[in-house]
C-alpha cells in the first residue's frame, strides 16, 4: 500500500489523505498513518514544488553543474569529502558519478558571480579537491520529469465515441 501512496504523492504532493485513500482503496486514517511512518523512516524527505522561476520577473537564479575531481581518502573513499561539500547550502544536489570526474554538483546562486565565488573561495580549497569544471546552465528545458518550455502538445478532440 505504501508504494501506491508514494507514487501518488510523488506526482502531486498536495494530494490529500482522503483523495489518496479513494485511489488506493483504504481509509484516510490508514493513509495518514503510512505517510507519517514514511516521514519518520526518511522515505519521504520533503514536499516540494517545482517552479519555473524564469517566468517570475526579478527572481532569476543561476544554476551551474560543477564537475569535481577529488583524491579519495583511505578507508572512507569519496564519502567524507562528499559530506563536506554537501554541507554548503548552495549545493542543491551532489552525486558520485562514473566517468572522467568524480563528483557532480548542482549549484544554485543569485548571480554568476556568487557561484564563481563559491567555486573559488569554498570548493577549490577543500582538501582533496584536485580540480573543478563549472558549466553554467543556460536554459532549463526539462526538470524533474516536467518539460518547462515548448512542451504544449496536441489537443484531443473534445468528444470522441
Amino acid at each position: 500500500m505504501l508504494k501506491d501512496v508514494l507514487k501518488i504523492l510523488e506526482k502531486d504532493a498536495r494530494a490529500t489523505d482522503k483523495q489518496i485513500a479513494t485511489m488506493v482503496g483504504v481509509s484516510a486514517a490508514e493513509v495518514n498513518k503510512a505517510i507519517k511512518q514514511a516521514e519518520k523512516d526518511k522515505i519521504i524527505l520533503k514536499y516540494k514544488t517545482l517552479i519555473n522561476w524564469e517566468r517570475v520577473e526579478g527572481d532569476e537564479q543561476v544554476w551551474a553543474l560543477i564537475e569535481v575531481k577529488v583524491k579519495p581518502e583511505p578507508e572512507v573513499g569519496f564519502d567524507s569529502i562528499a559530506e563536506r561539500i554537501a554541507r554548503f547550502e548552495q549545493v542543491r544536489s551532489l552525486f558520485l558519478a562514473s566517468g572522467t570526474y568524480d563528483l557532480l554538483l548542482v549549484v544554485m546562486g543569485k548571480t554568476e558571480h556568487k557561484v564563481a565565488d563559491f567555486v573559488s573561495q569554498n570548493l577549490a580549497h577543500i582538501e582533496g579537491v584536485q580540480g573543478t569544471v563549472t558549466h553554467f546552465v543556460l536554459k532549463r528545458y526539462k526538470d524533474d520529469g516536467e518539460i518547462l518550455e515548448g512542451g504544449e502538445g496536441a489537443k484531443r478532440q473534445q468528444v470522441v465515441l
Binding site: 501518488i8 485511489m23 473534445q158 468528444v159 470522441v160 465515441l161
Partner: protein, 397 residues
C-alpha cells in the same frame, strides 16, 4: 451511429440505400455546441490522455529518416506479425501463425469491418449487446447483415448472458459480436460467462467476433481472451490493437487473428480497399511490442487510480454507478433525474460545461445512462464531479 427505427433518415437520390441506412452520429449536436465554448471539461473522449510514449514515436521518426516510406506486405510487416503472435502466445497461450492467420489493419475499426464483410451474406443476423460500441451495428448493416440486440443491464454489471444470446438465435444467425472490456459501459466478462457463450456458439455453429481492444485495461482482475477458451479457435475472430494500451489512437494500428480461411478472405478485401496499414505506424507498433510493456503497466495503474475517484465521486453525488472493471469509462445511471440522457448531456454541457456522452448513442439500453471517460487529469475529474454535483442537485426528481 445507431440505426434509426423511426425511418426519418433523409433520403438523397444520389446516395446509396446502403449509406442512407446509416444514421448520422448521435453526437453531432455536441460538436456544434462545443465549437463556441470555453472552459469545458470533457469526459466525452474515447481515448487516452497520454501522448504515445516517446520511444515508440521516435522509432517511427527514425524509420522515416531512413526512408521506410513504402507499402508493406498486405498482411503487414512480417516482424510485426511475428511479434504480435508471440505476444498473444505469451499473454494468452494461443497459437496463431504469422504466415496466414494474422492481418494488420487500420485500427480495430477496419478489422471489424473486414470481419463482417468476410463472413456475412445479405440478411445474415449478427447478435450483439445493447449498449455496444457505435460501429458494431453500422458495420453489420454495411455488410448487408442484420444486427440483433441482446439487452444488458446495470444490475448484471452489463455482462451478457449466454442464455439471452441463445434466445435470439434464428436460422439466419451467423455470428456473435462481443466487445469486452466494453465501450461504453466499462463492463468486463467473467471467464465462466465467456465459456457459456463459447458453448452456445459451438452448439449453433456460430462465429464469434471478439473485439478486445481494451484487453490491457482491466483493473484488479485478469482479462480472459475469448480465443484462449478451449475449442473455440476454429470459429473465432479475435480483434486487437495498439490504440488504447499504448496510447496510440491516432496511429491507427490494429489486427485480426483467426483461422487462415477467414484471414485470407479478410486480406482479399483489405488488399483492394486499404492495400496495407500505414508503414510508420507499423514500425511504431513493433517498438511498442518490444519495449512498451512498462508504459502499459504505468498507464493502467494511473487509470485505475482515476477510476476509483470517479466511481466513488459519481455514487457520492447521486448518480449510481456500478464498478466498471475495464476500459476507461464509467457509466452512471441518470434515471434519478427528470430528463433523458441526451437532454442531460446537452444541459450539463451548456449549464456546467462538462461534456459526457449520452448512453442512447450506444443503443436503446444505453438510455438512462451517460458515458464518462476518466482518461483525463485527476484535477479535471474532481472539478467535473463538483460541477455535476451542482447540476444533479438542481434537477434531481
Amino acid at each position: 451511429m445507431s440505426v434509426k427505427e423511426s425511418g426519418h433518415t433523409p433520403k438523397y437520390k444520389l446516395i446509396s440505400d446502403r449509406a442512407n441506412r446509416l444514421s448520422p452520429s448521435g453526437i453531432r449536436k455536441f460538436f456544434d455546441l462545443l465549437m463556441n465554448m470555453e472552459g469545458v471539461i470533457s469526459l466525452g473522449v474515447g481515448e487516452p490522455d497520454y501522448s504515445t510514449p516517446w520511444h515508440i514515436s521516435e522509432a517511427a521518426v527514425k524509420s522515416l529518416e531512413k526512408g521506410y516510406t513504402m507499402y508493406t506486405s498486405n498482411s503487414g510487416i512480417m516482424e510485426l506479425r511475428e511479434l504480435t503472435c508471440k505476444y498473444l502466445k505469451e499473454k494468452y497461450n494461443i497459437d496463431y501463425d504469422p504466415y496466414g492467420e494474422i492481418l494488420m489493419t487500420v485500427g480495430v475499426s477496419e478489422a471489424l469491418d473486414l470481419a463482417m464483410r468476410a463472413i456475412i451474406n445479405p440478411g445474415d443476423e449478427v447478435i450483439m449487446t445493447d449498449p455496444h460500441y457505435v460501429a458494431y451495428d453500422s458495420c453489420v448493416i454495411l455488410a448487408e447483415g442484420k444486427p440483433v440486440m441482446v439487452p444488458t443491464y446495470q444490475k448484471n454489471n452489463f455482462e451478457v448472458e449466454a442464455k439471452d444470446i441463445e434466445a435470439k438465435i434464428t436460422k439466419k444467425t451467423k455470428a456473435i459480436l462481443i466487445g469486452f472490456p466494453s465501450n461504453p459501459t466499462g463492463a468486463v466478462m467473467s471467464k465462466q460467462k465467456l465459456l457459456d457463450i463459447a458453448k452456445v456458439a459451438k452448439k449453433h455453429n456460430l462465429t464469434v467476433i471478439s473485439d478486445e481492444i481494451y484487453a490491457r485495461l482491466t483493473y484488479d482482475m485478469e482479462h480472459t481472451c475469448f480465443a484462449s477458451l478451449p475449442g473455440v479457435r476454429e470459429n473465432t475472430i479475435l480483434l486487437g490493437g495498439f490504440s488504447k494500451a499504448y496510447a496510440m489512437t491516432g496511429w491507427r494500428i490494429g489486427y485480426a487473428v483467426a483461422p487462415k480461411e477467414i484471414i485470407a478472405a479478410m486480406t482479399k478485401i483489405h488488399q483492394y480497399t486499404i492495400m496495407s496499414a500505414s508503414t510508420p505506424a507499423q514500425v511504431a507498433a513493433i517498438e511498442a511490442l518490444k519495449t512498451g510493456e512498462p508504459d502499459v503497466v504505468e498507464m493502467t495503474e494511473d487509470y485505475n487510480r482515476r477510476r476509483k475517484v470517479i466511481v466513488k465521486g459519481l455514487n457520492d453525488i447521486g448518480l449510481p454507478c456500478f464498478e466498471p472493471k475495464g476500459a476507461f469509462y464509467a457509466f452512471p445511471s441518470i434515471t434519478g433525474m427528470s430528463m433523458n440522457s441526451e437532454e442531460f448531456s446537452e444541459r450539463l454541457l451548456t449549464e456546467e460545461k462538462v461534456a459526457v456522452v449520452p448512453g442512447s448513442a450506444f443503443g436503446a439500453c444505453g438510455e438512462g445512462y451517460v458515458r464518462c471517460c476518466y482518461a483525463t487529469s485527476l484535477a479535471d475529474i474532481e472539478e467535473a464531479l463538483k460541477r455535476m454535483a451542482r447540476f444533479v442537485k438542481k434537477y434531481k426528481k
